[in-house]
């Protein structure tokens, strides 16, 4: 039982990341009709907002301490971060410690801007081109962004720890009489994702802006004829989708140290999530995200793997998502919640 509870939590956690990325993908596809293969790169850029802030607050004043020596035997250069110099050790260390939550504040405007520039600067020119062209250009863009990040930050993962208060794990199982400890930050990640997902839904449902966007998704031309500048709103939606991916990335950094390749790792799976959920369906993307996350976690249990190995299906955890995708597409070609007419013209 403990193991099952742990894998459910693990699945919800993986699912959170899939759902957040798939949500953004679906928003962009639903509004602009673009298949954005650079979306994983936006997730990664979000994570590197946290890394950049970490580097920024670590910028230090260098003083030479002749009483100590470095590895070459030269006098040691002692580094004192400027934030400690300016605000004193208490506040300075707190800023350094709370770097990841603070990065959220920075990531929102940065990602909105990146999304805006990306849409206006490049993707706009590909609206009338075939989907294949859109995929090629966004995929190319993703590679360029990845290489830029690698050139600046190196290829190895960069540790970006959570604040000290959230290091360690919490015995979730104790609440229901079991023994299953789960890391604090992963629980926070799940709660944070739930918050972001519901905010996006509430924004689309209850604001005028959201209503216009939904109307535009249903019939862009008519909304345009009513004198509404729907293109501008769609551009803003692109920015919001970028920000959602970015926030998912920022919060993910303490779970797995970010590296330049992390976006690609999530991108492919997120596309499967979108397809399983149904192209263009926001609830579909979110529920498929969680569903596939949980299935993937269960498939990696040793008992489940052993069972499938007996059926001559080794490494089921590696293929489960694709297997489910095939089954769903065979039985429901539009995905779980897909609507007629999307990508079928």
């Amino acid at each position: 039982m403990d193991a099952i509870l742990l894998q459910i939590l693990n699945g919800l956690d993986k699912g959170s990341a899939y759902a957040l990325i798939a949500l953004g993908l679906t928003l962009i596809f639903g509004t602009l009709g673009v298949v954005n293969f650079a979306h994983g790169a936006l997730f990664m850029l979000g994570a590197f907002c946290a890394v950049s802030l970490q580097k920024l607050v670590a910028v230090s004043k260098i003083t030479i301490d002749p009483s100590q020596v470095d590895f070459l035997g030269n006098p040691l250069k002692v580094k004192t971060p400027y934030v400690i110099e300016w605000f004193g050790p208490k506040i300075g260390n707190a800023i350094i410690d709370w770097n990841v939550p603070l990065a959220i504040i920075i990531a929102i405007p940065v990602m909105l801007l990146i999304g805006y520039v990306m849409e206006r600067g490049l993707i706009k020119h590909f609206y009338k081109r075939p989907h294949a062209d859109q995929i090629l250009v966004t995929f190319g863009l993703a590679i360029v962004i990845q290489e830029l990040v690698k050139a600046n930050f190196g290829a190895n993962p960069i540790p970006t720890p959570a604040p000290d208060q959230f290091v360690g794990s919490f015995n979730v199982g104790a609440l229901i009489g079991l023994d299953a400890s789960y890391p604090y930050w992963r629980l926070i990640y799940f709660a944070f994702s739930a918050l972001i997902i519901s905010s996006v839904f509430a924004f689309l449902r209850f604001t005028t802006f959201g209503m216009v966007v939904r109307a535009g998704m249903a019939d862009r031309e008519t909304v345009g004829l009513l004198g509404i500048n729907i293109d501008r709103r769609f551009t803003i939606m692109f920015g919001i989708a970028a920000a959602v991916a970015g926030l998912a990335g920022v919060m993910y950094t303490p779970i797995n140290s970010p590296n330049y390749h992390m976006g690609m790792d999530f991108l492919v799976l997120s596309f499967v999530v979108v397809v399983v959920g149904g192209m263009g369906s926001l609830p579909g993307a979110v529920s498929a995200g969680f569903l596939l996350g949980i299935l993937e976690s269960f498939a990696s249990m040793n008992e489940v793997k052993g069972f499938f190995e007996m059926l001559y299906l080794p490494s089921i955890d590696q293929i489960i998502i694709y297997l489910v995708a095939i089954i769903v597409l065979l039985t429901r070609p539009r995905g779980l919640m897909g609507k007629a007419g999307v990508m079928e013209e």
């Binding site: 193991a3 590895f71 993962p157 540790p159 360690g168 299953a180 930050w185 779970i255 249990m301 490494s315």
Partner: protein
């Protein structure tokens, strides 16, 4: 309409003629081996991962290669050339020819690595290929070099198979291997954690992971440990939570992470997040072991490595003259100490150059003969021997531990024990290395 002119015809024929003449020039009977240097320079091919999970190791390897070339050509302070027991290298290139180099990106993928090595041999005329972080890559490139008739000086590759079942006459490995790690670590683990332990292994699913796991399992079981489970994880895994969660209720009290580079950073981080290090199982503290450590990855894993045992080929804090000379010239040039990957590649380059000097030729068969059974010292690992039968270097192995109180960002590992060569040595036909044959050296051409 055809635009066939006399001038065009001459141009085309000249180009085609030059093209046809090329292979004859390269394979002319004068050169009895592939890419025999004819001018005043000799070209070496540095094939390292410049992208993929081991790219940072690759970058450090490349720095070391450039430093080695500088020293061979008489630049810099000479580094380990001054402490090397063989005195054939004089800073006048190799056999009087200036050393030049070309680089390739292995991308940590076997096919990409073979393609870049092939291009360096065929297009750039490299007479020796060296490099590789990842045993899958090293084995693939070693096979290619054997066929092409050039020497392969392996970089960071730790699989038993590189000098075991996949050994080749043209390939040489200075780095240690999985068996040596197991043999060096097991006694230390027994001393610290006792005989009665249950180990759970997570293992990278490729040649290095398999042989590393097999080695450490055999070595710890010989000390009385029990192996609860071994789970293979794909090299591309980044989130190890679903592999770590089952460890919690498995009854194991030790987790062995047969992971390297980015894999190890992520799996260790997950294990620590899940509170494994704070757990008590079977009345004992839960422990984590990382059989192959590198400073670069220890640094990447941050706080999480403190107190964790592993093994390494070399560490910059060693105080022998060779290590000191290398750290000094590398540190002065780049501003930070070299990694074990940098050390082994630097040493390999000097060993190759020295073998050319001693044999008086770049011919792979001559070089190979000079390296086989070669005993040397002053290169940072104490007395070392290139065993003739399998082209594996035998030397002491370092058992290290994540440092509890680092004094700088480079000071993340401390050397716990220097395990003597005799304790990690094995017979050529040891079951973990059996199968495959060294074969005969291939000069190509």
């Amino acid at each position: 309409m055809s635009k066939f002119t006399r001038r065009g015809l001459i141009k085309t024929s000249a180009t085609v003629g030059a093209g046809l003449a090329m292979p004859t020039f390269i394979t002319s009977p004068l050169a009895a081996y592939t890419n025999a240097p004819t001018g005043g320079s000799v070209t070496l091919g540095f094939n390292v991962p410049q992208s993929g999970p081991y790219a940072d190791e690759g970058a450090d390897e490349l720095r070391a290669y450039k430093l080695a070339v500088e020293h061979l050509n008489g630049g810099g302070d000479g580094g380990m050339m001054n402490t090397f027991s063989s005195k054939s290298l004089t800073g006048n290139g190799i056999l009087g020819k200036k050393v030049e180099y070309v680089t390739g990106d292995t991308q940590t993928k076997s096919d990409a690595a073979r393609a870049s090595a092939k291009s360096m041999i065929e297009k750039d005329g490299a007479v020796m290929i060296t490099g590789g972080s990842s045993s899958g890559v090293a084995i693939a490139v070693q096979g290619l070099c054997q066929e092409a008739g050039v020497i392969f000086m392996a970089g960071l590759t730790h699989s038993n198979d590189t000098t075991g079942k996949d050994k080749k006459a043209n390939g040489f490995r200075h780095f240690f291997n999985g068996y040596m790690s197991g043999a060096a670590l097991a006694p230390v683990l027994e001393a610290r954690y006792g005989k009665d332990r249950n180990a759970y292994h997570l293992t990278a699913d490729y040649t290095w992971g398999w042989t590393q796991q097999e080695s450490i399992q055999a070595a710890t079981e010989a000390k009385g440990w029990n192996t609860v489970n071994n789970v293979l994880t794909p090299l591309a895994t980044t989130d190890f939570s679903s592999y770590v969660a089952p460890v919690l209720n498995s009854g194991a009290d030790v987790l062995v992470l047969n992971h390297y580079g980015g894999n190890m950073i992520n799996s260790l981080t997950s294990a620590v997040q899940f509170g494994l290090r704070d757990k008590m199982v079977n009345g004992k503290n839960f422990e984590i072991v990382v059989p192959l450590y590198s400073r670069l990855m220890a640094r990447g894993a941050g706080e999480n490595v403190k107190g964790i045992f592993g093994s390494t080929n070399w560490h910059w804090s060693l105080s022998d003259e060779g290590s000191k000379a290398f750290v000094k010239s590398f540190g002065t040039k780049y501003g930070f100490p070299p990694s074990q990957a940098a050390h082994t590649t630097y040493v390999q380059t000097l060993l190759y150059a020295d073998a050319c000097e001693r044999s008086g030729t770049f011919n792979p068969c001559g070089v190979s003969e000079a390296l086989e059974g070669f005993k040397f010292d002053g290169m940072g690992n104490g007395p070392t021997e290139y065993r003739a039968e399998d082209h594996q270097c035998f030397k002491d192995v370092l058992v290290v531990k994540g440092k509890e109180n680092p004094t700088s960002e480079f000071d993340v590992l401390e050397v716990v024990e220097i395990t003597p060569r005799s304790q990690v040595e094995y017979a050529v036909d040891h079951p973990m290395f059996a199968g495959g044959a060294l074969g005969k050296c291939n000069p190509g051409a």
